[in-house]
Amino acid sequence: MMFRAFASLPLASWILILCTVPSLAASATSQVPDALKEGLVRFALATGELSPVERLSEQLKGESAEFLRAQVLMGTGRTAEGVEALKHVAEGQYHRAEAALLLGRYWAAQGSIPETRQWFEHAIRIGFGETRQEAGYRLAELELRSGRSEKAGQVLAKMEAGFWAANGYLNLSSEYARSDLNPTRALVALRVAMAMAERDSDADRKDHLLNRLRVRAGYLALQNGEPDKAIGFLEKVSLESDNTPQALYLHGLALAEKGNHRASMQSWHRAKKFPLAFSGVADAWIAMGRGFDLSGYLGQAGEAYLAANAAFESERVTLRKLATGIREQGAYKSLVEDAQASDLEWFLADSRTLTQPRMAYLLDFLAQPEAQRAVRRVAELRALGQSLAQQQRDLGIFSQSLTDQLVLLDARDDGEATELRERQMTLVRDLEKLSAKSLDAGQADVLRSVSATLAASADSLQELKGRVSARPSTIRKQLDQTRTLSNQTERLSAQTLSLAQRAEKHLDQLALDYVSEQDNEMANAIDKTAQQIAHLYEYLALENLAEAAQ
């Protein structure tokens, strides 16, 4: 938009724009007061718009300068330089722990365990607050993945209560649940995690984590043969979270364990309202039949199994449509963009995350780290492509405007400037006349301001001739720069497009694998219901035979 305004500037405005510029970068950054430079870089780092501050970061001074510069380098893809700069910061005086944490994260992403461990340990040793807690969590996670759960426990024991420690204990509990025959140790770790999560100051984050922890605790308690304890955990899970369907299914199981089939079917019935993509929903459909069966309502059990079967078949159709959509339009459009767009009225759309199958599959798919990375890659490359396309359009307008200006400057005479000089002199004379009169304080103030403005325009007019004569060569330089940048943009756009295609292909493959896996799960669920129906009919047939024999 601004560029279009630039193209349509009248000639008079161009007189204002006459200036000579020795270097592009220097001119852009020298306009920012020194005291504000650091803040501008901080804002850019937080919002991810780093291009305008890339040069600015090189001029920073003060305690945080080197750390901010290193982050800008990492954020702009100059990772090798960024890593070196971060190492320097980590060995220096300021922001040591934050730099060590960033280095640990970087090496973890690269898959280098010794370096990751070294930097996280360094961050824990010298850091405090959130930085230290995050480093502790990540180190514990690294130890768990290396099969050293004892060591992970030791790291977590030194952490303070809060979000990071709670997540650490949650992971430790999962590890214990995998390795132990008895779920007691996993339940103890979950209890600690819940106590730690209660101390998190971010309310939304705390609620989300607590819901996850309660569902896991409920599952483990149920596995341990403690349905009352499980019900206690599960009844605390919020009814508006993505863990709700699983909690409802487990709640029904716990009630059934206690022989309360009627109440258990109420929980399962509620779980059935959620899309089948969520964990526990398909199980709840099958469990309904089982509930009727155990309660002695065999006819209704048969109907429930048939209904489950129909729901699973219909879900397979949805999944096939999703797979076709992914093949035809790509996973990014089918899953991410279409899930964002909604034709629903706002008053119907508020709980769509929990009711739309596409959104439910997206949430489940994006729970996988590799899927998150793949979607991020595509989103990043698309944004890059869009910004390059915008740049290309703007540079085209620049180029056209500069060419027009050259033509206008060649054609124009000094007439307009002479007129302006004459008008200036008339105004100065008028001002002198007015100043000679007796004035009150307010009037004198106004005249002083008018006098300052006139003096400024006098200076501009005086310098105008010299600047106008220097202008064509400046414009030609700018035109050259514009054309060079335009060629570069074209080259980079082509590179971005090719890379985006590769990234999208990778994402499509991941999404198709995921959809196929979901389809297999639905096929298994259909097998289960078909088996139940067969058993039921077999039983009914035998009963009929027995009755006939009597």
């Binding site: 006459l18 703007d394 403005t453 400024a456």
Partner: protein, 182 residues
Amino acid sequence: MFGTKSIIPGRIHPPLGLLLGFYFSLLLLPSAALGSDIDQAIDQLRAQVSEHSAQVFALEQQLLHPADSRLSVFLTLGSPDALGLDSVELFVDGKPVVSHLYSEREQSALEEGGVQQLFTGNLSNGSHSLKAVVTARSANDRFVRRESSYRFQKRPGSLRLQMTLDAKAPDFEPRVSFLEWK
């Protein structure tokens, strides 16, 4: 006290198991390798685009906002915890020039000492007025909309204005102050 799960004896002959394992690892490899390969290429491209965008930005600043007539307005928060900024509208000589709605990310960036370059434009020399309309949520949970005006004299050369948003206890009344950088 806690037993660990016993290892189930292998149903597959070890060499065959190894071969199968190798086969499956080959199947798994391309996906992860392809991902990290693309990541490296993205990093390289990002570095080039970033360098290029900085040059385009500099050229844009030169051509659109020449130093002689430039006005830049920067926004800072004076008391970060006292205000949750929702939006800022800026009017120069009564004409709207900026209307910005703050995302959560931008709000926290400002709260952590970030500075936003809210407006860059061109002005003729002389007397001008700047009006800022701020909507925010104050620390005592009040939603407020406040207007502030500032008159200034534009002289040849770049004019840089810092606009600071403040709210002090107990009333947390938002105040906007302006500072001209020489």
